[in-house]
């Protein structure tokens, strides 16, 4: 699963940046085509939901999705073996 922000819905309120225990959401810097500063995702693959949602068959944590007033946050299915850059933390 992959965490995505729907740019057509997000209004840039930054509430998601307050609640994530991993601090995945960072305040954005550039306005998008609609003139809204959408938060940036910092290594979203760390989200518990991305990793374990399919295994448990339900939404874990989910704080960001619940607090987002614009229903902009969701998880998408990924292709198998999709190449992706991974940052390793030491």
């Amino acid at each position: 699963m992959r965490l995505v922000i729907d740019e057509r819905r997000c209004k840039g309120c930054n509430l998601c940046t307050m609640v994530c225990p991993y601090r995945i959401f960072k305040q954005g810097s550039k306005p998008n085509a609609r003139g809204i500063v959408v938060p940036e995702l910092d290594r979203p693959e760390r989200c518990a939901n991305c990793r374990l949602q399919a295994l448990y068959g339900r939404t874990l944590c989910g704080m960001c999705q619940m607090i987002c007033p614009d229903q902009a946050i969701s998880w998408q299915e990924e292709e198998k073996n999709e190449p992706r850059k991974v940052a390793i933390e030491f």
Binding site: K11, C13, L15, M18, I36, M66, I67, P69, D70, A72
Partner: protein, 262 residues
Amino acid sequence: MTYTEWLREDRLPHIYCAGCGNGTVINCTLNAVDQMGWKKEETVFVSGIGCSSRAPGYIMTDSLHTTHGRALAFATGIKMASPDLNVVVFTGDGDLAAIGGNHFIHACRRNIDLTVVCMNNQIYGMTGGQGSPTTPMGALSTTTPYGSREPTFDLCELASAAGANFVSRWTSYHVKELTRAIHNGLKTSGFSFIEAAVQCPTNYGRRNKFRQVMDQIEYFKTHAVLQQKADRLREEGKPLPENSIVVGEFVHRNRPAMGVKR
């Protein structure tokens, strides 16, 4: 099934301002309704007038958007005519406590099997920020430019005194607890009242020193006091910290109710 299937995707994004807490309360309510396993065609959402009352328009069920303050009167009618429907009412502080105040206390007294979710933003948001019966003392609004001088309604105490079966209060920061409270309210037969303190960045926040949406959420986070702690402080004879919002489940009882599913 997840709660997002209850949303009318074609109507989104909704008209609420950026960071308006009403959107969060819609998420929590739909999540709780989804956990109940209700069918869409057996669920009705009712609302009056105000920002909060736009909510049923974004939900994929039958709904009624009624006249100002009369949401509970219409909901009572639905429940009396067909008790098998599950009725959830969205309302705001102005709609419920000011214009619909009398309907509110009588719906509590009759203990009709409804679940009422009140999005209390402490101001009349839609009409331009006039003071409402829950605008706190000292808060600025367009009708109280020098700070409100009126004591406010405590909606939860009002509902408990009038006879509701379930009364609870949370804020839009406490999404998990709010969802659980609404779920408990839906399960309880009789009148369930859940007050959700929400931020209104456009009309309340920017007049009252909450420059960012996050500031008001931070305020909810730091000023919420659990009911158990409030009781303990009262027993010890200590005063509650100033401006605290007491949250928790206040009443859960089993008075005789009207309009319960047969």
